[in-house]
């Protein structure tokens, strides 16, 4: 039975590819499974949340992070593919940063894990550049009209991590407690962190 190329279910196609590559010695399934497990279990937005919480509680670290994001993030033990050059963008009263990858899905894996589906979605990638205020509002974030919005397009060379504003009323919180309220969406710039 022959199937037209575009009608092969992707699960079957993936199985075929994996078989071929394993037979040819190009892929070792156990190595592959280690990578999968790492990104399913260990590498996620919690890493970025720890970076943010430390920046909120340690002025020296905050300065280092804004000066050289990659080095400061590596210092926390977070590095790897798609983390070679991470620039940190600080939210303020004057400017709101939001991150996109217009061409595919470049994203700072070591601090945020793998991107969520909306980040990969053609509509977000096209529209957030054209009408960021509207898109953010649709996602539940109303940026004050006097606040400028800057959209950052990720690339093979640079990936971005947003440093959100620390919510009011968290002055007595330690870094662990703060890390617990930092969300992935806030670190991409489509949400703010709230203490509630």
């Amino acid at each position: 039975m022959s199937i037209p190329p575009d009608r092969i279910p992707p699960a079957l196609r993936t199985e075929a590819l994996e078989q071929l590559l394993t037979e040819r010695g190009l892929v070792d399934p156990s190595v592959m499974e280690r990578f999968i497990a790492t990104y399913e279990r260990d590498v996620g937005p919690l890493n970025g949340a720890r970076v943010v919480a430390r920046a909120w509680t340690d002025p020296g670290y905050r300065a280092a992070l804004l000066c050289d994001g990659t080095a400061a993030i590596e210092e926390m033990g977070f590095s790897g593919p798609q983390g070679e050059h991470i620039v940190v963008l600080e939210q303020s009263e004057e400017v709101h940063h939001v991150v996109v990858c217009t061409l595919c899905s470049c994203y700072p894996w070591p601090v945020l894990g793998l991107p969520p589906s909306w980040y990969k979605d053609p509509a977000y990638r096209a529209r957030v550049v054209r009408e960021p205020r509207t898109v953010l509002s649709e996602m539940g974030l109303d940026v004050p009209p006097e606040r400028r919005i800057e959209v950052w397009d990720s690339s093979a060379e640079v990936r971005y991590l947003v440093l959100p504003q620390r919510p009011a009323g968290t002055g007595s919180w330690d870094a662990d407690a703060l890390a617990g309220i930092v969300t992935r969406d806030a670190m991409v710039g489509v949400a703010e962190v709230s203490a509630a």
């Binding site: 039975m1 022959s2 092969i8 196609r13 199985e15 190009l26 592959m32 053609p122």
Partner: protein, 113 residues
């Protein structure tokens, strides 16, 4: 790196905001293959990324950016095949031929009865 916080269970701090990293098992295999192959030097990540961009652009040109049927890992899988073909590790018909062979397995082939 030591985990200071519980990274498992319902009370864990932000991991995926309730979203699974992979929607279906094959997606995780396609992901793992690409990362493992790049790590082993079969191709550079940039070469793979270029193919991924091309596959996504092609899909968007054919279906429109507002089409909800977009499936990211389908583009990812085809990009992986593309980069392996251009690296000379696969011939263009290899995956198709093997898929056809696998499709001919009797139903329930993967169950022991």
């Amino acid at each position: 790196m030591t985990a200071l916080l519980d990274t498992d269970g319902p009370g864990s701090p932000p991991r995926d905001n309730g979203e699974l990293v992979f929607a279906e098992p094959w997606e995780s295999r396609a992901f793992g293959m690409a990362v493992a192959l790049a790590d082993a030097g079969a191709f550079t990540w940039d070469a793979f990324r270029d193919r991924l961009i091309a596959r996504i652009a092609r899909w968007e040109a054919e279906h429109g950016v507002d089409n909800p049927s977009f499936r990211y890992y389908r583009c990812w899988l085809r990009a992986l095949e593309d980069v392996l073909v251009s690296a000379g590790e696969l011939a263009p018909g290899d995956v198709l031929n093997r898929s056809s062979t696998l499709a001919e397995r009797p139903a329930g082939h993967d169950h022991d009865h």
